[in-house]
Symmetry: C4
Subunit: 218 residues, 4 copies
């Protein structure tokens, strides 16, 4: 067992507090995870139904690959299975899920396209592996579901089909992003939230959404 | 007499500070209450005309079922009777009232419909009793009035007719929501404010309100 | 000489910090004053060109009726004469001036009408003397000018003509409001800023400004 | 060597924290510099890839005219050459670069015009050398590029051609502004960000951009 659980838990609580202040984790929504150990898989996971603006490090749970709590009888986040899926598909070290007004709006406006195309912004350079603003980022939109195992399969399929994406949206639900570390995951979320807001506000001025076609695997 | 008045007062002051920071309690608007005792009814109530961003626990009043202060000569919130009404109708443990830009705008835009229909959002799952995003939430809009006893009756009638609602809007006034505890009431307000903002901003892009018909009792 | 100058200075610094955080006093804009003594008139005045988010109580100046500093060689706010004018016309105890995005936008959009009509909002009840939401508030718009004595005369004329107004806008410049105390002035500014934002955002949805006629003296 | 490096580093960290809170430096974007010494040129520079909301004074680097770090093996900001260019062209004492939603949106909407014309706002008076609101500020838009030496040349040419401008936009990238001191640079950024947001929101209401012609050298 790795011994940085307290450090990860502190980092998660700090990120949660900052995101809640921005309105990205209101009403106990959203969840955060970080990998404590890979074999067997152990994740530090945020608990279910807790105010993310007041989340304390000691409230973080340790869960296994089946999203079962190991050191606790408290309930981990309902979406823990999605975090596990992303960690396995991407080898991520941390996964963050936000509910923001803009990511919610765009997840609906672009649902017919199956995703959002974001290109040409310098902000994209902050995403891992992106070297230039002349980059086209595809942010897939997956239909929401309460069937978590089924949704986890959809997530795995999407990540398998689009190997370069840095996040995805759940329709009328929110954004998932990740990183090798909590810091990189935080950076990715900030960048994607920024870009979604930028595109959303531009839509206001332009007077609506211009729909593109579906997006090939990349 | 329950002995958690200081604890409730602290919780109320903390919520007030956070909501004021978000712009939901500007200009001494809004009010907060929490049940100290049920028989006879005793509520911890925020005082009238106090800056909610600087509300201290020692400023909270104790009021009775007629909204009369018991331990003080200071004036409780003008809307104390509405808090009493909600506590009685719903058995709530805490009631919160916010004035936000978005709840004010939507209370006017949907006034002709008598309420706002909110459906399909994952955020709805944070409302007590809601298990899925495939839920339709009705947020009634009640006409504003300065006749507080009369308005309390309107509130009681509305809550009686719509037994599943988690809040209501007063037209051109603000949002009321509640919970079994202060934490749940806070969560409900955050969720409803989030959803009203999401719908309001979507209206910008869509170019206006699509009016539905009136809403049957549920 | 009254001995609450330190207390007023502390209050002004606290208000400035909060308003700057909201984006209402960016780039050293805006100014604040409070009456220390009425005969002869002495105002505590914010200094010129200082970051309002970092304004310290010890930076406040004491000025006289001609807006001349009494205890300092530092420069008081350029608009000190307007503060003096408002104090004299209204007997105000404190005057606050903000530059917000929304008050700037509406000061231009309604310039042709000579002011903004705000009615029917519960938030209006927080303005001194207003008992009901069924109130129509007139917020005059005065053309901006760098000729401060001349602008002070325009302000005096406007306040003389509209004896019930609680504030006014300077076109493409900002909002002035006041109160008997710093607390009341702060409340008035928060209420007017809230209402201007509410109306501004509603304009987005409605698709533009509906102009009314000029407004008779009230 | 000047001995105010620690002081400048502290000032830069404080500005970064405030700007990050406003959403102007999300996702490790943006950069800050301050002149420690002019001959030979030495700048305190923010490091590459660091969360600007958590930037510490001890993380600041010292770089030379070629943007090479002198006291460190850590990597300075990718855009250090632009900071050097601005310091040389304008004799600036500090340079700040932000990525905000509004500056990004307007950098795209007005790209065809080559810049944004901002006139008539009182806020313009906070820009160095501007005495009145009856001022027309030109904010050039330069095409973005990953070729930093080439971009630095574009910046130099633009600043040479428009000797009165207080900032410029990089298309779909962000805002650069500067000042004689960190305080003045901060003031300039706050003013320009405020004005860009004001114009952007006004565009919503007006229903789109009214394009002007190209802008002559000034």
């Amino acid at each position: 067992m790795s011994n940085d659980f307290p450090e990860l838990a502190s980092g998660m609580a700090a990120i949660a507090k900052g995101f809640h202040a921005r309105g990205w984790l209101l009403g106990t929504s959203g969840n955060l995870s970080a990998v404590v150990q890979r074999e067997p898989l152990r994740l530090a996971m945020s608990p279910s139904g807790v105010d993310k603006g007041e989340l304390r490090p000691d409230q973080m749970l340790l869960i296994d690959e089946q999203a079962q709590p190991l050191s606790d009888s408290r309930k981990p986040s309902d979406e823990s299975l999605l975090h596990v899926q992303i960690v396995k598909e991407r080898g991520a070290g941390a996964v963050l899920h936000t509910h923001s007004v803009w990511n919610t709006i765009l997840s609906e406006l672009y649902a017919a396209d199956g995703g959002v195309t974001i290109s040409g912004f310098e902000m994209l350079k902050g995403l891992q592996g992106v070297q230039t603003h002349e980059h086209t980022e595809w942010l897939p939109i997956i239909d929401n579901s309460q069937d978590m195992p089924s949704l986890a399969v959809s997530v795995a399929e999407t990540l398998n089909e689009h190997k370069a994406v840095h996040g995805f949206l759940l329709r009328r639900h929110g954004l998932y992003s990740w990183g090798e570390t909590l810091a990189q995951a935080k950076r990715h979320v900030e960048i994607l939230e920024f870009l979604l807001e930028t595109m959303g506000r531009t839509l206001h001025i332009q007077g609506g959404v211009k729909h593109g076609g579906s997006h090939d695997s990349q």
